[in-house]
């Protein structure tokens, strides 16, 4: 059964049709990649799915429930977490605190209990901390849990952002160019982590420019061009698809 079902999704900016009637589905426990040349509408599509932008038309069904037009915090609470193309950590907070924000949807202390510091809020806070440290351990970044996020190296920031998204315990994880700006060793590390995350039972939708990474890890690939879906298939078939080669890979050869 499909975890995410996107149907006829459209979004325009002024006269520019950024995403045009795109439909696709993501099966549970798979990694699906979204590729396409610059300006193909990949990030817009991501923003639509994560609720950062409302669609003009079309529907997004997640876990059998419509989530289109939801504000981002509601899509997050439904189980969709994301990372950003340009890392968006909370710069003045420590790496651990950043990850702890990810536990927000799994905790419930509101203003009044927190102001009164009721005992159950301490227990909840402790659970948040333990779980966050566990996730950081899983991704191998416990060493700089106490460092301010802004002080971390770029590659480390990427992984902290990944940890923060994982802390949401999402059913679907949206990764927007997780390897952008990383060197080969770091890219290989990210690829290893993404596969590990999939094995944990998290479905992944990924936008990525690094073709070898995409071909390596993904189960299925969607190709976008000028806001429209060109192909949607397994990696091997995508590599052989003449339309894709002409529009996308052909440009690389030129």
């Amino acid at each position: 059964m499909a975890l995410l079902e996107v149907k006829d999704l459209s979004r325009a900016f002024g006269g520019l049709q950024a995403v045009n009637k795109v439909s696709f589905s993501v099966k549970k426990d798979t990694i699906k990649a979204l590729i396409g040349p610059n300006g193909a509408g990949k990030t817009t599509l991501f923003n639509l799915v994560s609720g950062m932008l409302p669609p003009d038309s079309g529907s997004i069904i997640f876990n059998g429930e419509p989530v289109h037009g939801f504000p981002p915090y509601r899509t997050a609470s439904k189980g969709i977490a994301r990372t950003f193309q340009h890392v968006k950590l909370f710069p003045r907070m420590t790496a651990l605190e950043n990850v702890m924000i990810g536990r927000h949807t799994h905790s419930k202390a509101e203003f009044i209990p927190c102001m009164l510091s009721l005992p159950w809020t301490w227990r909840e806070e402790k659970q948040i901390r333990v779980k966050s440290l566990e996730i950081m351990g899983f991704l191998g970044i416990s060493a700089f849990a106490g460092n301010e996020a802004a002080s971390l190296a770029y590659g480390q920031q990427r992984i902290v952002e990944l940890a923060r998204a994982l802390a949401c315990e999402p059913a679907l994880l949206l990764l927007d160019e997780p390897a952008a700006g990383l060197n080969m060793r770091e890219t290989a590390e990210i690829a290893r982590l993404i596969t590990k995350i999939k094995e944990m039972g998290v479905t992944v939708l990924i936008v990525e420019h690094d073709m070898s990474l995409v071909m390596d890890i993904s189960d299925e690939i969607i190709v976008l061009s000028y806001g429209e879906k060109i192909a949607d298939d397994v990696p091997l078939a995508i590599q052989r698809n003449s339309e894709v080669i002409r529009i996308y890979l052909g440009e690389e050869d030129a």
Binding site: P72, A76, F90, R92, I101, H104, A109, I128, R164, C168
Partner: protein, 359 residues
């Protein structure tokens, strides 16, 4: 429960007692009046500190909330309902025990709202006003937010200044003392000066404890996340609009309570309490304290308000706050108490540049 978390609170309580003893032994007990007033102003400032420093939302209209609290409570406790006692609404209030009868200087009788009832109504009204204003205003950012809150502050100022039953330019006076319970009253009488100093300080300590709890909780973390990167906070499941609004209302309530009690303490309130300069002064003190630094805001709130009320700045009062504001923002945008303070000055001499992120 770790003990050291409450160490600063214990230090604060000791400091409050030490100051009182100091004034007692040096025979300067008259200073308690200004200290009490500074404490109430500090209450506004720590509330604003949460909104500005932690949630990252500027408000140039907090004097408006202070004035709403003060004016409503002053109005309700001074307006005479006796001529309307047969009105059904008034008799309903009377039956509910919200009113009390008092005698004025000439032996004439007057029927007022009880200060408790007035206080509750003032705070409730502030909450409603803060929700109504905060809802649309907090969607704005940067200059737009600053101007919109400034606009709100000016509207409150203009209304109290231009409305006759709020005393227009004279404000409201003869506000009765607020008997919290028998034996404990908020009033400016010199016989209860020490008592009032402790009421005000106690309230500030309670406020600090509540806000520290909030800062160190899941909510405080979410607020700092909103400050750091609002869209990322949203994507992590933080309902940013709701949290900003609740923080706005919370800080408005702090301002309003301070307004109510200071009005009872002073026995009146004037339009200058609602002026833009007051709002700017609150912002200035939070900035000097270091924005996201509750202790800094508290310390500076006490200190600067005390100096100002004692008249140390003379006729340069506003100019001093203006200058402090400029100097702090130029050279120490993290506040006086931060390790990176005066980085700008150091930079001039060392000729290194370090980029500062957009807020």
């Amino acid at each position: 429960m770790n003990f050291h978390k409450y160490l600063p609170i214990a230090a604060l309580i000791s400091a409050v007692i030490a100051i009182q003893l100091l004034t007692y032994f040096t025979g300067s007990a008259y200073m308690l009046t200004q200290l009490t007033m500074s404490a109430y102003y500090s209450l506004v400032i720590i509330g604003l500190c949460i909104l500005m420093g932690y949630a990252g939302q500027i408000s140039l209209g907090h004097a408006g909330f202070f004035a709403i609290g003060g004016y409503i409570s002053a109005f309700l406790t001074t307006c005479n309902l006796l001529p309307y006692r047969s009105h059904s609404l008034v008799s309903l209030f009377s039956k509910a025990g919200l009113l009390n009868m008092s005698e004025d200087l000439y032996g004439g009788q007057a029927l007022h709202f009880h200060p408790w009832a007035a206080c509750v109504m003032a705070v409730l009204f502030t909450i409603i006003a803060a929700y109504c204003i905060g809802g649309p205003v907090l969607k704005l950012k940067g200059h737009y937010l600053a101007m919109a809150t400034l606009g709100f502050g000016i509207i409150v100022y203009r209304i109290v200044l231009g409305t006759s039953f709020f005393g227009a330019a004279d404000g409201l006076s003869d506000v009765p003392s607020f008997v919290i319970f028998p034996g404990l009253e908020v009033s400016g009488k010199s016989s209860v000066r020490i008592q009032n100093y402790y009421i005000a300080s106690g309230l500030v300590i309670a406020g600090v404890i509540i806000l520290l709890n909030l800062i160190n909780s899941r909510i405080g973390r979410a607020l700092r996340a909103i400050h750091g990167a609002e869209d990322a906070a949203g994507a992590m499941g933080v309902n940013t609009a709701k949290y900003k609004l609740h923080t706005f209302v919370l800080s408005a309530v702090f301002a309003s309570i301070a307004g109510v009690l200071l009005t009872h303490y002073n026995g009146g309130i004037g339009p200058s309490e609602a002026s833009v300069m007051k709002s700017v002064r609150y912002v200035a003190i939070v900035a000097i304290g270091g924005m996201a630094n509750l202790w800094g805001a508290l310390l500076m709130g006490f200190l600067l308000n005390f100096l100002s009320l004692r008249g140390y700045f003379g006729s340069f009062d506003d100019a001093v706050f203006g200058s402090i504001l400029i100097i702090i923002m130029l050279f120490a945008p993290e506040g006086l108490l931060h390790k990176n303070s005066f980085r700008g000055i150091k930079k001039i001499f060392s000729h290194t540049t370090k980029e500062e992120g957009q807020a």
